[in-house]
């Protein structure tokens, strides 16, 4: 009997239905910038890789104790902004980013992290390269850490 194994049950018969079952569930998230669609006059949801990229970015810019009752959520990068700009802080940032993304964003795996210490401008430029597991595509998020004034 012809069939497709979907992981938890054997589906037999109508293969068209099997296609529907195996269809990927799209990722849809709320864009916190709340941009309005010019025609539909509704907010524009973020979809799939854009939604995942946005989630990674949200995690990286979150500091410890920012989210209520989840004190360790976030990469706490801003918390390291005023630490001495050296190798130790650099390592700490990498650890924080890896730990945070692994723990809170299971949809991606971090490939590499690029941290540039722009001493003259008192800022860090951080670029995180990751693979979206579901789509096997690579993407990156860039964050610039600098003091407000």
């Amino acid at each position: 009997m012809a069939g497709i194994y979907t992981g938890d049950k054997q589906i037999s018969g109508d293969l068209e239905q099997a296609k529907i079952v195996s269809k990927k569930k799209p990722h849809r998230d709320l864009d916190l910038s709340l941009k309005i669609h010019p025609i539909r006059k509704d907010i524009i949801p973020l979809k799939d890789d854009a939604a995942i990229k946005n989630a990674v970015k949200n995690l990286l810019i979150s500091n410890f104790y920012e989210r209520p009752f989840q004190s360790d959520l976030g990469a706490n990068l801003r918390g390291l902004l005023f630490e001495p700009a050296g190798i130790l802080t650099n390592i700490q940032m990498r650890d924080n980013i890896r730990f945070c993304v692994e723990k809170y964003e299971p949809r991606v795996s971090v490939d590499s992290i690029d941290i540039t210490d722009v001493v003259d401008e008192n800022r860090y430029k951080i670029e995180v390269f990751f693979t979206i597991k579901e789509f096997s595509t690579q993407d990156s998020v860039e964050i610039v850490l600098r003091r407000l004034r």
Binding site: D29, L30, P45, L46, N54, A55, R67, P68, R107
Partner: protein, 616 residues
Amino acid sequence: MATNLNVTELDFADIKNNLKNFLKQQSEFNDYDFDGSGLNVLLDILAYNTHYNALNAHYSLNESFLDSAQIRGNVVTRAKLLGYTPRSVLSPRATVNITVTAPDTFSGTLNTTLTLPRGTKLTTQITGDEFQYVVLETQTATLVGRTYTFSNVVIVEGDARELKYRVDNDIENQKFQLSDFDADTSTLRVRVQENEESTGSDLYTKFETLRGVDSTSKVYYLQENPSGYYEIYFGDGVTGFKPSNNNIVTIDYVTTKGVESNGANAFSLVDNLLAGTTQAVTLVSAAAGGAEAETLESIRFNAPLTFIAQNRAVTSDDYASIIKKEFSNIDSISTWGGEDNDPPDYGKVYIAIKPLLADTLTTAEKTDITGAILKGKNVVSITPEIVDPNFTYLELDVFFKYNPNLTDRSSVELSSVVRDTITDYNFNNLNKFDGVFRHSQLTRAIDNCDPSILNTIVRPRMFQNITPVNNADNNFDLTFSSPFFQSGDSKSFLLTSTAFKINNVDHFFGDEPIAGSTKRNVIVYKVVNQVNTTVIADAGEIDVDNGKITLNKFRPDTTDVIKITVVPNSLDLAPKRDQLISIDNSSVIITPEIDTIATSGSAGSINYSTTSRFKS
């Protein structure tokens, strides 16, 4: 899948989970389960807001009820609805006589009277710390010979404070605050004068009851405000007189250190009443009654009781709650109706009070309770009668077996630990009107006080002390808290006593059975050639079943204390009415013994000895 939003949860995580379950019903957004998603940030805010409101509602509701409120201001406000004002810190009060004597060399003029003003300072010391006392009421003494004598002057510990306020009726419900946390409101005096220039003033009394209060009544109301200070306010012109604009309110009171100087008994005057004279202070009653401000738990406990009593003493419990509220020098109190007295005494209510620092109340304190505190609150035909507590003392024979391999304490040290345990038991469980001597509780406490103690035997005996008058017939009625142990018509004495002299010879009390009765006859005997010889055959009676001993017709030579000892029928002893049970520490005999079986196994059983239940 949830079809509705569940609203029963209170914790942040549960609320957030409910929101997630709710979102599972829609397909517009489905990233809510990932912590980095924008939707998750929104859920955090929603859940936090819900949690915040739930917590706020929870706290607000808790603070709305007397039983659950935690903030003192709220407890006090709830108690106020029940007509209850929490008791402030109280200063210890002592009574003294003060004499001022002019020497023969006195050069000034001696007036016929001398005034001892309110606020006159005295001083005392307790364990090296100095405390100031002040005279509470102005008193006047007349010159007799060259001496002025102020009798029964009430002095209280603390500093006399005076505050003046101007009445401004433009302020709605103007309150006048006592600006000290440690103000003793029982010393409060409120006077109102017309204006700053006027010399006379009206004395206002504290509002107690609506009865007889009208628009002309000079009363003030006292309450504790949410900041913890006491404040007073006046009537609205209907219920109590309303002072006019620009009247001056003078409030004076004493600030105190509370319990710290309880027991002070040696005072000397600091202020000089009349220059060139000799001043002496003699004690009438030592300082007592100092107490801390009422605690939250105490307010919670007493406010409903006072509300139930409605400031009326009807049931016996009402008497206890009113006296406890108004009189602080109480360690333990027991009240019972005359119908429950032995013998019944209808038309009376009996009150027994064990004060904090003494065994009995002073006559002045008793008069204060039956007069100022209970008068006007008790039912007209019922007379309150204050009786002194009746102590039944216990002497204990304590035997314990121990395994020396399980402790590094010596037998003397173990005995000391056991003695401390018994002292603690006496302090924590006895000396109260509801303090039952529970035999197993005490043996358990001794067993547990050191791991090496294996078993304990405690033999309690009850005793009371009597102080006879010499060369006259003495009569005593002793009531013990328990029936006596009697084995049939035993010829052995139930009662034993210490020796007392008659014609300079040692005599003792003993007893013998009465044929056909459970009662026994008390005799007085002396020992002649090692034989008991009865001297007085009918020196009283023992009511074995009711635990009573009557002694009469004995005339000792001396007034030495005689100790009368009996064995209780039960190992547990429960006090009734005015009875208190107390372990006499000096009569506790502790005997440690090494447990030979525990140390040597079955070989030790040969020398193993046990202890008799009865004293030989």
